[in-house]
């Protein structure tokens, strides 16, 4: 995770940026899944917007959200070992104040039939900070 902007209020939203690199090609038609830590309990299966950036390409797409897992459809092949970014302009934050270890997120890639996994991250290989969400006094 390379960036987050805005005050980290709980029951709010943040602009989150994740940087990734995959050792195999992510072919067009694949699905990229971002499984967020357990504290992210306010996604409510509501699709959120995602921006995928790699090379000179910037692709905005909607997502499918189930529980804490965000599904992004890859519409253009990302070559192996190419650094790319996934940004969420409005990622809902946890309902209550808490600290979450973002390294516990898991990113996976599946083919279009979702029957197997093409690539997966390991928690040990992640480099993401802890985020502490605080309450907002403006909320009643």
């Amino acid at each position: 995770m390379i960036g987050v902007s805005g005050t980290l209020y709980s029951f709010s939203s943040i602009y989150a940026q994740f940087q990734m690199v995959c050792s195999v090609d992510i072919t067009s038609g694949s699905y990229l899944y971002i499984d967020l830590p357990v504290e992210f309990n306010n996604l409510n299966n509501v699709p959120i917007n995602a921006i995928l950036i790699f090379g000179s390409s910037t692709i905005s797409s909607n997502t499918i959200v189930t529980n804490r897992k965000i599904q992004i459809t890859i519409t253009s092949t990302i070559s192996a070992n190419t650094v790319f970014q996934v940004q969420f302009p409005n990622l809902p934050t946890p309902l209550s104040p808490c600290t979450t270890e973002m390294s516990k997120m898991v990113v996976t890639v599946t083919p279009s039939n979702k029957l197997s996994i093409t690539a997966a991250s390991s928690v040990q290989g992640n480099s993401a900070p802890k985020l502490t969400f605080i309450s907002n006094n403006l909320y009643i």
Binding site: N67, T108, L115, I117
Partner: protein, 174 residues
Amino acid sequence: MVISGICTPASQQNGAFNMIYRRIYDRTYTIVNNYANAIFPTFQNLVVSNISMVSYFNTEGYKQDLVFTLTNTNVNVDYNVIWIINFPSYYSPDLFQVDPYCMVNGASTNCQVDPNTPYQLVVSNSPVTATAGTAYTVSVLGLSGPRGIYTNNAYSQRYIFVGVLQNSTSTAYS
């Protein structure tokens, strides 16, 4: 003494529980029941509904999603219906990697691993309805995928059992 999760016999031949007590230190049988009041219950006939399953993310160590498509023979789906799903023992006794998450027709619903019976999932409080004879889906998301060695002839392949109870007081699957 409560024994949970017994596989019921396939036949309707009623017998009796033969419960004996044996001391550990000398292996002597100390008490043998007299069959008088330990008769096996009568079973209702099995109602076979139409059930199929699709499995996603089939990689050991990852979160597996199972989507069952059911067409109930008798029972209308509403908030009273309870689904009991028994998994083979090559799954984790706690079933999930993090937290149980289930959906009926794509709507989130309650589900919990049975606290008394390992490998058993209880899905309840459906927010959607479906009349008997109409297909609907029950999705179980985030299962802890079994290790490949357990499913590759090291252990015999077993069925996943899905039972539909009309309500929490039902004593047999419908």
